[in-house]
Amino acid sequence: MEPDRRLAPAQFTEASLQVFVMCGLLALLVFVTGWWNPQFLSAYSLRSVLRDTAIWSLFALGQAIVIISGGIDLSVGSLIAFVGVLALMLLGDDFGLALPTVLVIVSSFAVFVGVLHGSLICGLNLQPFLVTLCSLLILRGLARVMTHDRTVSFDAGEHALLRTLGAGSLCGVPIPVFILAGALVPLGFFMHHTVPGRYLYAIGSNVDAARYSGVRVNALRIVSYALCSLLTAVAAVLEAGDVASVPPSNAGLAYEMYGITGAVLGGCSLRGGQGSLLGVVVGMATLRVIKSVVIFFNLSTYWTFAVTGLVLLAAVVVDSLVRARSQSR
């Protein structure tokens, strides 16, 4: 028996409404900040916003896929730190591996972590929150053990290719944006236009109904965690290239919260079953722009958290009002 195909388009409409609201909010923030200080729209500033948005969106997309399928991954920030130090150590003098080899190793490791998460959650029926919380601690701890708690860094000239991937631009557009586009197109197609992708929505909506409908629930949930870890590893390598250093104790700290926030802003419900990948990118762009807003409006940087919270609250309230109005029609 096929799952109810009417389910996904209906949810897509609801999620797309939220994406529409978020796009409006993002446009408003960009317009008001640019009007207040036109330097915000300078090429240098926009490149920085785009680069950070692209890197953050990668792990947020992974988080969104897990959330859509009814799970959660709290290990994202620690995986960023672990993969970052692992990549720089493998590239360093002690191992001296080439970047393509390092990318294969860290990607394989990330997929292994994701498969392990999924297998523990599905095989032993453990709570995703607990399993990934343990990984959060284990991976952060291992990153610190491996480096003896020292920041791993490199000279820009040392690993030119890694530096170009993270901090370089092509025709004025940051390279991470192309990498995000390269990931977003197949992922969007997979999630919105293929049967396994639609099954992930179905699993998130009602796991039992999906199982009784013959959906390979366990295999697909494992795939969702593996995709999340893989996308996080790509983000980790790009961030290491951009920042040129990875402090094991605080690299990627709280990024899981950024990812969850971006996913929710992108129309994902924490109960699973709905969300749009494009919305996640818009959500992450909004988060990044808010950070600039604080500086461009001459506010002290202590205001960052408060302003972020206020703008997000405004987004949630506006979304709720728009939705209530559209349902009442």
């Binding site: 095989g123 199982r211 959906v215 390979r216 295999a219 920042v243 950070k291 500086i295 461009f296």
Partner: protein, 350 residues
């Protein structure tokens, strides 16, 4: 029927993944055990021999090159004074963890403590208890209201002034400047900020503000980028904490053609690299080796009841120095010598 078949294949797939996972996990577990055995004990380091007086050197962050250099100084003094030094670093940089470390040391019967308190107000009480049992001094950062015997460390206001003077040297005509730091609720950040502002107290220098980044290098780069974008006429950057200046240099690399002078603090690998490449004008650096050396010397004197020459204000400032392109290679050589000395002292048991 179809769903039963699918469920069976699903279970088989899961079991395959599970077995594969167990196989890989066994190897991973072995590797992890090896890793833990090699690197898991770095937070507490001790020189041998139980019969000698035993002092604790408690630091404020897990570990870094700065504290390695300080530990080399500790071991040198321990060798000269014939004492044992324990090096303790909290797993997380919190006052609560430092309090637990001090309490554990007291219950074990330590003979002296030199600590860099993270939050003087939170730690004063436990330091007062410790001072009743053994000599206690503060190093690197002070707890003025506690009963510590003295403070040995940098005059952070003077260090800030040194950074300000460096910037004036690079920008004699003045211009717009910005300060960057992790957090301003840490005493040394505020003191350095005060010193920089004192040195730049001249109408031709316009300080736009002090920007914080939560002590995260990635965030530090983002904040500098936004400030650079907002102020195309920014002429100078002062990084109050070690990682700030290298991240400012990093942010500037994306802004071709901008001429912004960067001045920082301390002697991290990244700072020396940026100075050598000419991206950072200079850095005002502390002398952590002296923190360690003088702290253990002082504890030994206080423990034995010898005259310690503690000044009336109970403050012993260790001088600072400036790193520029002219002396950066020599500074790196000196640091490497001290780190080699640390390895030798460790091998021969301090």
């Amino acid at each position: 029927m179809r769903s039963a078949v699918i469920e069976a294949t699903d279970r088989m797939a899961l079991s395959l993944v599970w077995r594969l996972g167990i196989l890989v996990s066994r190897r991973l577990a072995l590797a992890l055990l090896l890793l833990l055995a090699l690197g898991g004990c770095e937070n507490t380091r001790t020189t041998p021999d139980a019969a000698k007086p035993r002092f604790a050197f408690v630091v404020n962050v897990p570990t870094d090159r700065f504290w390695d250099i300080a530990y080399a100084g500790c071991l040198k003094a321990a060798q000269e004074e014939d004492v044992i030094v324990e090096f303790h670093a909290p797993n997380e940089s919190t006052a609560q963890q430092q309090k637990q470390i001090v309490e554990a040391l007291l219950s074990r019967g330590i003979d002296g403590i030199a600590i860099s308190p993270l939050n003087p107000d939170s730690l004063s009480l436990v330091l007062d208890q410790a001072a009743e049992q053994c000599p206690v001094i503060c190093q690197d950062s002070d707890a003025v209201n506690s009963k510590r015997a003295c403070y040995i460390g940098t005059n952070n206001v003077a260090l800030g002034r040194q950074m300000g003077e460096l910037l004036k040297q690079a920008l004699p005509d003045g211009g717009k400047l910005a300060l960057f730091v992790g957090q301003l609720d840490v005493a040394n950040a505020r003191e350095r900020q005060q010193g920089v502002l004192e040195a730049l107290d001249d109408p031709k220098y316009e300080v736009l503000g002090t920007f914080t980044d939560g002590a995260q290098p990635a965030e530090a780069k983002r904040v500098v980028t936004d400030v650079l974008a907002k102020h195309p006429d920014l002429r100078g950057i002062v990084g109050l904490w070690g990682y700030n200046a290298p991240q400012a240099v990093n942010a500037l690399q994306g802004s071709v053609g901008r001429e912004v002078v960067v001045v920082g603090s301390d002697e991290s690998i990244e700072t020396c690299r940026a100075i050598r490449a000419g991206h950072e004008f200079g850095s005002a650096a502390q002398r952590p080796y002296e923190f360690g050396y003088q702290s253990i010397k002082m504890l030994a004197k206080l423990y034995r009841g010898e005259p310690a020459d503690v000044p009336a204000n109970k403050t012993i400032f260790v001088d600072t120095y400036v790193i520029t392109r002219q002396n950066v290679d020599q500074v790196e050589r000196d640091i490497n010598d001290k780190l080699s000395e640390l390895e030798q002292l460790r091998q021969f048991g301090g």
